[in-house]
Symmetry: T
Subunit: 150 residues, 12 copies
């Protein structure tokens, strides 16, 4: 019997405040709503999933290290760290599985300093601008690619 | 009875050559394969779809003008024009529906001049790096968003 | 009897859509309205005029080549190609008459990438920001300069 | 009875020397000639006009402040201050009427440091490169726009 | 019997006007003269040759696609598109044979924006500045390299 | 009875070491001295105040989240994070009250990399260069603005 | 008996128009209101004060020279000259007392060209964004520092 | 009896994963191996040594503060924080002893964003590219310099 | 009898304060001392000389205009305006005689923003760094060149 | 009897090591092989030729000075000095004959710092990327141009 | 019997003047002192060593060429050529052994133009800032690496 | 009896060709003429002088080292090395006397790459643009300064 593909969905700083922050940009969904939709999408595709959020760069890095032997994919919305953290990039680069970068808003349509991502170059792909669907689209991509390779 | 949402999938220069070009980057799928998968994904989500490719910027712009009254969404892989064509951007900006930018490869992991997209700022979102799945993920996003708004 | 001075008014990509596109920036006039006003202004100044629009860079270049023996002036609103097309600039540079660059909106008050024009340096002058009047002001300039030299 | 539209034509540093300075670039007209042509053009369009020149930035700013309650339009050739004076820009920005930027020569075809204008972004439009006609074209634009709005 | 090596000589926008345009830079030769000299040089080296010119980027790309199965080498003078067209670069990159970039004038001794070529990096080599001889030198290079490898 | 306005004074990395570090730049005051002066200034203006310091970006972000429902103003000396932390900026941007940026030294008179602040653009104002007075001046500003609005 | 500390408050171009100009940015206070509040704040702290405004850079420089032997502090809102005038900076640098830079609005949250100040590096400190309170906060700072040194 | 010189060896984010990460760049040694070699080198030179690693910037800063009274030297491999952390730089700058920057790989031969170090300017020296020997070379340097000064 | 060559020595903002300002950079000489030395050097070389200083850009420009018919050479120390004033440059460019740029200090050894001179390109030559001798060296140069041409 | 055209072929630093250095880039030919092929090509075209190599910039400059009266053309592969030596450029600029720049590899397809050539702007033309053929193509160009002008 | 590893220590321009030049930066040691310490360190590690200095780039390049068959390692302090010489970099790149870059001072803590090294990218590692110990640390590194590989 | 002040006049690459090279820029004087005028000027001011020229950077550096104990001043026209040689700058920086930078032409009015001088920052002053007089003016400056200090 084939083992379930395991995905870790990671969320960076301030995403715990979703639903309270600039709804014009991020919508009214909370992070709990996003987790629920991710779990439901994963279940529908028969994928195992875990979900976490942290405001501290160090905690995110610890989590990635810990994920190395436990997960096949990381889907990450690194929020503000996307643009500044070489340490986070290095942590993701040593993760043996694949990484997908997601963003709720279209970061390239916002301030100049949000146009550069340190994470994109070590990711398999990017999904940005679709609200919570950015996450579920990434989960579908894992399902597609896993099935294609099965 | 509600009318079907209509999507136009557009492909820019050189994508007609897919399957022959740098398979290390783009894979072995041909554009016909992509079209077939797009049509099948649209059908599954009960979306109407059309699909086109052109090497000429002018033809792409004519097509967008013509699409204004006929389609609700444009999903576009503008290929090399992504990085250079203000005229294409202007055409997409006047399209009354929403635009999704897709790329087969992760353009930000390639040459420097492929990091800047003139199209992103006027798009709803971006999907890049998932091969043909970039297209079907975009189609799923249309289905999600359309249903959410229904 | 002196021969009439002949002007070709050229319009670049997306200008055929005028009146439908971002009226906050471009107003409600259509390209047909602009053509009518140009013809009327030319007639009032006893100037011969022709008027064209194309979305394709190649067609614009062909038209300029063809105009070399037929027109004395080119008034051009190159739209999005203004900022990107060295080929169009080269075509205008080999036109033996004079070139006037016009823009409906004040391009320098818009996005950064619209601040650089490849055409200005090979033009006699620029008129920008006056809506359809940008065109008729350019036609008046031709009349003034032609009379001054008569 | 409708009141006449009132235009103030302002000229920045060194323009009092016109006719003596680099005639290859600026022609042989003096500032007095330009004033005469402006007055004649204004009269023909039934516009009230005043005309001034100063070499000092402070005097130009004082004049703009004073013009706030007396004029409907400012047509300004700010000469060398075009490229360097934030203070002049700020003065023009608080003028309640509209501003038109004019230049005798095509500044974008000259030295690199003349390509950037601090004034363009707060102007309605720009006319550059037509010699004295740059001024009279701007006056015509005022007439056109005023009549259109009448 | 060994098959003849086949070369396609491609010419970009405005080169059809050669002989009329800025003779100080490009000389008095027409494109027909260049074609004649290329055919004669190819014949002398027992190489098959074809020769084309187009003003439209899309047509050049179509031609390159079509050349993939018909020619062993492309010698291209992309003119103004040299500096701006990622799409043309991508088309040349997928051509299975080798590419040689040629220029009539020494582009690096002209305007700053002509110093960057998007084509050089995917070309085998560059020949620039020798007038029509740039083309015949490229043809000789094909002959040399083909013989060396024979 | 009107409720007291509540201010949270936040201090970023290394400020716990004040009094030991480069006294030429920062003076001999310790953070405890600054806290005492802030509490005394707040009391004098009848403002409630809290005061904290952390070396970890994550802790600062957690504190801001927690402050959303408890404080009306944040006065922050983000120290080295001022110049690098998009995540901290995002946390401050979602704080529903106003933010004041303070610095002990005049950061613009120091190293180049201290000239750019990511926090200024989302702050109401900035006070820099007055030593501990930078803090008490910010507290006075809160008192002034609150009274003006009362 | 100790002599009163003497402050000169200086205001640069266009600040005489306060109250008429972009109230969204600068509020409805006039410069006379600001002067009144400054005088009142100075009196409360037992500081001597003078207050001036000029649109001309030369007048501001003359005033600074004259202030060298008459004042202990200069508080300056250099307005548009902040970003462009090396001459004003040099004048302030030779003033033997201390300089405080003030701004009514948060200049770093406005146009890019307002982010650079030539004056900051030679000032003791900066206060920006607090409306008229920026001035009175600076006066408080003088009182604090003077008392601390008394 | 002279007191032993005390060195703290600090390691930044992801270095706990050494031996698992990109062995082509970093080799197969684990951090425990490095610690062992450092302890052995220190012992040979009669130097006291401590060794730590943390993924969190805040923890590293806390550790530096704590080291101020306990150690004479810090040898630090700040990993990804080298290029981004002003806060870490500030912490090291207030350490009263000397700092040596070490890197396992030659960071200047890697990605562009690894070429800039915020730490170098406040370090006594740098050792990069020698694998674990970078650390032991730094320890030798401490021994040399301490003996020279003894 | 040959007419005496006439030199105008011009001094820009803040130079009236020489002798009081940063003597480490400018020395203890006053502007009156410099004038005396210039007059004495001119007399020794049988040159007519005049000497002026102004803090206002406009006054300097007026003076240059007035000098057009009265002087053969301008020797100018434009001080802070050297780096910022296009208007002053334009005034000097229309002066029919030759211009020599002088500086008391070596401006290229000072702040970055003092490295660029807008005046150099339209000057015959530059003398910088020799204190008051910069002026007398320039006067000698006029004498040399005038005699050579006599 | 017409005199033979004389060419000097010059080679810059490290080219004496050809055949040993990075054969993937430069091939296995030695400089002696290149000299032989050049001599043979020159003989075939009835051109006189000389050939030299030096590692020292000063020697190359001396050689160019000496060549002024002895040669009609210089063909130069300046190797690493191409990108850095203004002195070599100046030497070539004063050579009264024409200069051709050659490179064995396609320098624009290599490191960024090899993209800028200080020599191109003062050369008649450039040949790069064809291995030893770059040299013989340049010799052919001399033959073509000489015959055309004969 | 295993052959001794052979190291060439190379020193670039001006290092022959050590001990006379800016002792605040470089200390009082002469190059002869450094040579003595290097020889002694090499002897202690049973390594063969040679030591040279030259002011001429060409001589350094000649020496590297000559070293190709005679030495296993080059330790080089290229001094001012570090930042400017592509030719020296190319020479070191073709050396078949490994290269170590050393600097006496911490170049990254000095002028901006000393921050970029053309040599680092082709070196195994860098040691900078430790005075003469930079050299002996590099020699230890050779000993370590050679033994590790033995 | 006071000893004569000793000046070494140094000339960099290509200056030996003066009189043959671009007379429009450099005039018709030869280097021998310049030497004669320098010797005569020095004699008139009772200064000892020596004069040299070299095309090789290394020779210039050797000469500067040798001059350390023999000359009080160096006057140097470093020609093309002015803009590129850190090594030459370093040599001049260790010269214990003062350095004067001279240029025959006004380098800031020529190509962009001639605007930056690496030598200015370590020179006492600069004289540029006065032809051979640049040298004699520098010699006068030495005389002035020496006498002033006598």
């Amino acid at each position: 019997m084939q083992q379930q593909t395991k995905i870790l969905v990671m969320n960076g700083p301030n995403l715990n405040m979703l639903g309270t922050r600039e709804p014009g940009i991020y919508g009214h969904l909370t992070l709990a709503d996003i987790e629920a939709k991710c779990r439901s999408a994963a279940k529908a595709s028969n994928l195992a999933i875990d979900f976490m959020q942290a405001n501290a760069e160090g905690t995110l890095i610890d989590t990635i290290h810990d994920a190395c032997n436990k997960f096949d994919w990381i889907i990450i919305n690194a929020a503000g760290l996307t643009h500044t953290s070489v340490a986070l990039r290095d942590a993701l680069a040593l993760f043996p599985g694949d990484v997908i970068e997601v963003h709720i808003s279209n970061t390239h349509a916002r301030e100049e300093f949000r146009h550069k991502s340190l994470i994109t170059a070590i990711s398999k792909g990017v999904v940005a601008g679709f609200g919570v669907s950015s996450y579920t689209m990434a989960i579908s991509a894992v399902a597609d690619i896993t099935n294609a390779g099965a």
